[in-house]
């Protein structure tokens, strides 16, 4: 299942966790858990951690569209991860 998830990510689309769960016929919670594992192994990077200082100055830091500091977790696929 982890391998199938990687193949889906390698396709390069932007996807929601729910879509991935549907494609893998599993629960969103399990997909989230796998994404966290892949993130710890360097396949993915959580978005938003590198610019926390800049976000402090931003009037919309808590509300920005990509969820930096908001309720949306975003990961980006790392080429060659």
């Amino acid at each position: 299942m982890l391998r199938r998830l990687l193949h889906l990510l390698e396709e390069g689309e932007t996807r929601r966790v729910d879509d991935l769960a549907r494609a893998l016929d599993t629960s969103p919670a399990l997909v989230e858990a796998m994404l966290e594992t892949l993130s710890r192994q360097g396949y993915l990077a959580p978005v938003g951690q590198t610019c926390s200082t800049a976000c402090e100055k931003c009037p919309l830091a808590g509300k920005c569209a990509a969820g930096m500091g908001g309720s949306t977790q975003v990961w980006v696929w790392k080429e060659g991860g």
Partner: protein, 669 residues
């Protein structure tokens, strides 16, 4: 399951393992009470907590292991936890799971079952799981795992006695763990694992089980690999050759663990009620649809402008005409006894400049409230998703898109956000695009000025300006994608929350904090700019026509003429936006307040023709970024790129402004 007290008191060592935030420390505190010892793990900076207490005739040594996600040597905590279990061999290990997040917390257990320690599972937060309509059937989980599973609510001290009883029973009868379910590998990797374990048998320190060590080597664990290289170099050569042929062993091992987790969850967890998920799914079928999602997004954009104009503009006009302008006149009269420059500074510089900027607070309040509402409901995440798909469709690379989207709040974090782009060339080109994203400050200025020029058509004009802005951005983005990314695509994965009722308190707090920050900002750079602009417009003799600013304005006026601005003050107002976008309003307030002494909106509306006014708004939307953004670009890309950004934006904004002016003059608008 209750252990009988033995004839002779016995000491048992029990370790508590679990992922962070699983409630492990709560269990530890509840069981040990005040009998705790807190120190550091030997030679480490990680905190070690141990406790000793008597229970049913046993002396229990309870050891709280550091919270870890796995047992691979990724962090000091993980090394400590596994070293303790391997070296100290506690009589039992209690593994805490979170019933409300079973999938996440089972991964550590998937690793622990590969060790020879007797295990007991504490299923914590069953109350939270129940509140989320999730029920974990512990007897099914226990049967599927082959381990005792005890449901607990650690925070309410429920189930802890049963957990302790189970741990003691397991410690006394560890042979019960023979039927434990364990993750499986693919047959070819299983064969390698067994052969590697055979090679390592008797070659490593006694406390390292060869099967476990072989598994860790196949997984790429740096510490165990170094141990094998040191203790069994010949075995390592063979294993390394196998690994070269099977580079995907890590994925197989981790994948096997997740397949194991899925089987357990499917067996033991009753899924949440379909209702709430179905509602979100039903709404998302439209809200995130490739086409209808975009229509909804455009509608939401339109609604934001409509709500802002409908609610905020009457208040803004009342503040400007009913408060700021009379206040400026009153202060001028009141200070008639003082030297003329004092009255001019207070009424024109401070009240006319800073006061005018503060008068558009209602716009910001409404804007923040609407954004806060959309975020709290869960829509903004969908907006990002829909926009990203659209940008992909346009050919813009996902890695460029995300920083660009951040720029809507403020361009500074947008520039910083380009750090997710690994390729330097692509990153630099994306940085060049970010100032084209209309930030909140730009939008506020446009929202304030558009009604002055265009009255009831203002929402349509602003909507059109944003659309043109995004179109220019998209076209340049496509060019960047072709040059820098050669059409490659990058995956983004978004964990999107379900829709829920907004919390008025959260939104109110957000609006308050952001508005407060804006007012404080107005007290700094905008105040200074207003005073400087006023002084330049006053010196040397108090007559603006002879002032230093008039001389500067006359020098830059030819540029303004090309754009349909007959009055140099408009050009100067635009230039002052370099320090902060809001300065445009402050400068207009100072310059026109001095001369007219009445409503700023009416004065500047009379100054420009409609094509000239549209050109002014166009240039304002696309003009060079503010000083903070340029500083961020300089920091991230260097001075040359900051200069290139200023040059590019200057050219684009002036060309677009001139085009708008001449086209609309030609069609006689």
């Amino acid at each position: 399951m209750t252990s009988q007290a033995p004839a002779q008191a016995r000491t048992l060592t029990i370790a508590l393992a679990g992922q962070p935030n699983v409630g492990k420390t709560t269990v530890f505190n509840m069981l040990t009470g005040l009998n705790q010892h807190v120190g550091n793990w030997p030679g480490k900076t990680v905190e070690q907590k141990t406790g000793v207490f008597e229970y049913k005739g046993y002396t229990i040594h309870l050891v709280d292991l550091p919270g870890t996600y796995s047992l691979t040597a990724n962090s000091e905590e993980e090394r400590i936890a596994r070293d303790y279990i391997l070296r100290e061999q506690p009589d039992a290990v209690i593994v805490m799971l979170n019933a409300a997040s079973l999938e996440r917390t089972l991964y550590l257990l998937a690793e622990l079952v590969m060790l020879p320690s007797p295990l007991v599972v504490g299923l914590n937060m069953v109350d939270v799981a129940r509140q989320n309509d999730m029920v974990v059937e512990e007897h099914v989980l226990a049967a599927a795992l082959g381990l005792p599973v005890i449901p607990v609510v650690a925070s309410h001290n429920q189930g802890l006695e049963a957990l302790l009883d189970a741990a003691i029973e397991t410690a006394l009868h560890p042979e019960g763990g023979q039927s434990i379910s364990r993750p499986q590998l693919k047959p070819e990797h299983q064969a390698i694992l067994e052969r590697a374990a055979a090679l390592l048998r008797g070659r490593l320190p006694e406390h390292y089980p060869p099967e476990w060590a072989a598994l860790k080597v196949l997984e790429g664990d740096s510490e165990i690999t170094a141990l094998v290289q040191r203790e069994a170099p010949d075995a390592w050569e063979t294993i390394e050759a196998w690994l070269m042929e099977h580079e995907d062993t890590y994925l197989d091992i981790a994948g096997g663990r997740y397949a194991w987790i899925e089987r357990l969850v499917r067996a033991a967890m009753r899924q949440p009620r379909a209702g709430s998920i179905t509602l979100t799914d039903r709404v998302d079928r439209i809200a995130t649809h490739p086409f209808w999602g975009l229509v909804v997004l455009l509608g939401v954009f339109g609604a934001i402008f409509w709500v802002t104009y409908t609610l905020a503009l009457p208040v803004v006009n009342w503040l400007a005409d009913g408060v700021i302008t009379p206040l400026a006149s009153w202060s001028s009269r009141s200070l008639s006894f003082a030297p003329p420059w004092v009255g001019g500074l207070v009424s024109d510089g401070l009240i006319g400049g800073v006061g005018m900027v503060l008068s558009f607070i209602p716009i910001l309040v409404t804007f923040f409230a609407v954004l806060g509402f959309l975020e709290d409901v869960g829509y903004l995440a969908r907006a990002a998703y829909v926009m990203d798909r659209f940008m992909h469709w346009m050919g813009l690379h996902g890695r460029s898109f995300l920083p660009l989207f951040l720029g809507f709040g403020c361009n500074v974090p947008g520039v910083m956000g380009t750090r997710i782009i690994e390729d330097r060339r692509a990153r630099l080109l994306t940085i060049l695009l970010i100032p084209l994203v209309p930030c909140t400050a730009r939008m506020s200025v446009i929202t304030f000025l558009a009604p002055a020029f265009f009255g009831g058509s203002a929402p349509l004009v602003v909507w059109g300006l944003v659309a043109i802005n995004l179109l220019i951005l998209a076209v340049l983005g496509v060019v960047v994608n072709k040059i820098a990314f050669q059409g490659t695509r990058t995956a983004f994965i978004m964990e999107i929350p379900i829709y829920h009722m907004p919390n008025p308190r959260t939104i109110a707090l957000f609006v308050w904090n952001k508005t407060k920050a804006f007012v404080e900002g107005a007290g700094e750079v905008i105040l200074i700019t207003a005073v400087v602009v006023w002084w330049l417009s006053y010196w040397p003799d108090g007559n603006i026509a002879h002032s230093l600013l008039a001389r500067i304005g006359t020098w830059v006026a030819p540029v303004g003429h090309l754009l349909g601005w007959g009055d140099w003050r408009m050009t100067v107002a635009l230039l002052s936006s370099f320090l902060a976008k809001e300065n445009t309003i402050a400068t207009l307030g100072v310059l026109y307040g001095i001369e007219a002494g009445h409503s700023l909106s009416a004065t500047i509306a009379a100054t420009l023709s409609r094509p000239g006014a549209l050109a002014f708004l166009t240039v304002q939307m696309l003009f060079i970024p503010c000083a903070a953004t340029i500083a961020a670009i300089k920091q991230e890309a260097g001075g040359k790129w900051a200069a290139a950004s200023v040059g590019l934006l200057l050219a684009i904004s002036l060309l677009a402004g001139a085009a708008v002016f001449w086209i609309f003059t030609w069609i006689g608008w």
